[in-house]
Symmetry: C2
Subunit: 236 residues, 2 copies
């Protein structure tokens, strides 16, 4: 198995993803939130790029969710905080989600054989799914508005480590994947602090979402692996 | 002081460099070689993008140096191995150098207030120079053909660390600079091994340049800081 890592959505080329398992990472917060939604019993999550698309696609009974500038979109049922996606709020419901970076990343991965949503919260489960799929893996770090985001890179590094420990033969690592694995190993013991000091962590904390950062830093809390089937993410 | 890091030349935007100190890093091997040339008494190094430019610019007495696909260019006096830039070979001479990535990176940094050439071999000296210049710093990792190269990222991480330890007030780090500093700290004890396992390290070793990798991994061997004055790199 070969593992490559892409630093931002704008760096992603179709050829780096075609025929591979692509794990899309927007750890603060979209891909953590999608995992939380499935854990809470949502029937599925449809990621879309724009607010207009979200409104158009949502059918009666669906929940509209998402953020712009980290805040809930006016008129939507839910924002992008995993805390909002409780069993009471989402169980049995289909969710249409639009966020600034994460949902764009999922769309960008359309040439992949399989698209999974990765986060600190489901890293080991994602790695196990990727190993079952027996394809080369591309970790797509969404970043923030086309700039590298530390939390996504560290999460990619964690997933590389999980893939290494779950693989029978050591996977071959691209340079960026190797760098992220090293960065994660260095930050592991102080992960929450590292995330709180990242650009996204600082921004979310200033907007009152510090607890989201703490929650999203919870490594391997979830077994759920969101996987794209058609246009909808459902459990793998 | 703010420190940002750019992962590849293709990611570099003028605005990230304008008015700043830009430290260009192509640790295997161009920026290591430029430092070696100045240490050996070369009067200066003119980095150019193409072989044709190099031939046009070189005047009588200048040395033509450079590589394509890691190998010396036919008819040139020198390749791109720091071992070739001995005192006997280069003392008192001006060198016109063209390489695949490093010289492109130097050209790309044209909007900088000051351009320095950084490597593992002169990291502390580069950091000291940047602190004297009292500007924000952008570390420009050249990468290999627009793909991130581990050696450049780790070298950027080392320079971040040197800037941190030499600064009176802790510098503010962009997310990518923070990730590279963490990756370097993790790899520090096994740096040579990490470089030998990188894509560039594997390629150079297979072409018979393993000793170049070992030499270039020698942290803080040199006090020389190549600095761009006009179109020529001379000691800072």
């Amino acid at each position: 198995m070969r593992i490559d890592c892409i630093s931002t959505i704008s760096e992603a080329l179709g050829q780096q993803m075609a025929g591979r398992t692509v794990i899309v990472i927007d750890a603060l917060r979209a891909t953590s939130t999608i995992a939380a939604a499935l854990v809470s019993g949502a029937s599925g999550v449809i990621p879309v790029e724009t607010v207009a698309q979200a409104r158009r696609i949502a059918e009666e009974g669906d929940l509209l969710a998402g953020e712009r500038h980290c805040e809930k979109i006016p008129g939507f049922h839910l924002g992008n905080s995993p805390y909002e996606f409780s069993r009471d709020a989402v169980s049995g419901k289909r969710i249409v989600l639009t966020t600034t970076n994460g949902t764009r990343g999922i769309q960008k991965a359309s040439q992949a054989a399989t698209v999974l949503a990765g986060s600190f919260m489901n890293a080991a489960a994602c790695a196990a799914a990727a190993i079952r799929l027996q394809r080369d893996v591309t970790l797509l770090c969404c970043g923030t508005r086309d700039v590298f985001a530390l939390e996504d890179g560290l999460c990619a590094g964690l997933i590389v480590r999980e893939l290494q420990s779950a693989s029978k033969r050591p996977p071959e690592l691209g340079d960026f994947a190797a760098a992220m694995a090293a960065a994660y190993s260095q930050c592991e013991a102080g992960l929450e602090e590292a995330l709180l000091h990242s650009d996204s962590g600082i921004r979310l904390s200033s907007l009152g979402y510090k607890e989201d950062v703490t929650l999203c830093a919870g490594v391997n809390r979830f077994d759920a692996v969101p996987c794209l089937y058609g246009d909808e993410m459902k459990p793998f």
